[in-house]
Amino acid sequence: MTLLPFCEWLAATKWSIALHESFYMYPLIESTHVVALFLFAGTIVMVDLRLLGLAFREVAVSEINARILPWTIVGAVVMILTGVLLFYAIPVRSYQSLWFRFKVVFLLVAAINVWMFHRRVAKNREVWDADERPPRAARASAVVSLSMWAGVIVFGRMIAYNWFDCDRPQSEFVYWLSGCIVELADA
């Protein structure tokens, strides 16, 4: 199964072309995407530092969750809205971007980690809520979170570089990973 036909259809829509060719709109959306790191990644880092026992040790984990995670969600909404628009502006190249694919994989692992934390790890939170150094499972969650989100940010930045683009000579392995169409690769 490939989503390429869908991406090609998206790329041909009026609004996608308009966004792609816009002089201010695209940069404005991308800048918003980057500046939202302040809110989204910034609050995630602070919550994870608390879970690792490296900062805010005197603040209960439940308070950090209740007061800071809503801001993370606001940041996530901004990230998703701007991110979807950025993809919509350049669907085919993004879909066939190695970096974009890495980013999506890391994003999925990060999301599963969030779900696992709230579903499993935080289940007995009352027991360690005030602990300066939360139990190993919570600290592991924080390490996975920090490394996955760091990967998402780094790969996201790399999408802008065309080293592994399908229209450049690549190894068979990269063609396969990026889902390049052979005809395009030969061109």
Binding site: E30, F38, G42, L49, E63, M158
Partner: protein, 155 residues
């Protein structure tokens, strides 16, 4: 000697040259710059949200300033440590970029504001009205730094 001359000789410096000649050094510094930006954002927000009355409530702003200080200073060092080489590799482009000058002015104001006004005012303690004001000013100036910084890439 004009500013442009200075920027031109900076661009010819060893570090600038090494980065320009490498395929991946510039992107690598950019990526670490963004990671630093995330930590900076968190360190600022934990205090600013508290000042605006929508953050951690069980600690005073002064206590939060003390808690975030190593992360604030550490992230600033990472941002400067990666930002300076990025600048050196394309100093002349920066000279002609309006965004670059906006960013650097905002950065200067942001640093002076944070360490000479915001933190001393917080340490002394003020009413909630003033607190909200200094929190808002902090967010405004640092968001300008980040936004104008990204815009350098579009010029």
């Amino acid at each position: 000697m004009s500013w442009l001359d200075v920027f031109e000789s900076l661009e010819q410096s060893g570090i600038g040259l090494v980065i320009r000649e490498s395929l991946w050094l510039f992107p690598a510094f950019e990526a670490v710059h963004l990671l630093g930006l995330s930590v900076l954002g968190g360190s600022l927000l934990m205090v600013d949200l508290r000042l605006l009355g929508v953050g951690i409530r069980s600690r005073t702003p002064a206590q939060l300033v003390r808690t975030v200080r190593p992360w604030l200073v550490g992230s600033l060092l990472i941002l400067i440590g990666t930002g300076v080489p990025l600048f050196l590799s394309e100093a002349v482009k920066c000279y002609y970029s309006f965004s670059f000058w906006v960013k650097m002015s905002a950065l200067g104001i942001g640093l002076l504001y944070t360490f000479l006004i915001k933190h001393p005012v917080i340490r002394r303690g003020t009413g909630s009205g003033v607190q909200a004001l200094i929190g808002m000013l902090s967010l405004a100036v640092w968001l300008t730094v980040a936004g104008a910084g990204r815009w350098i890439g579009f010029s």
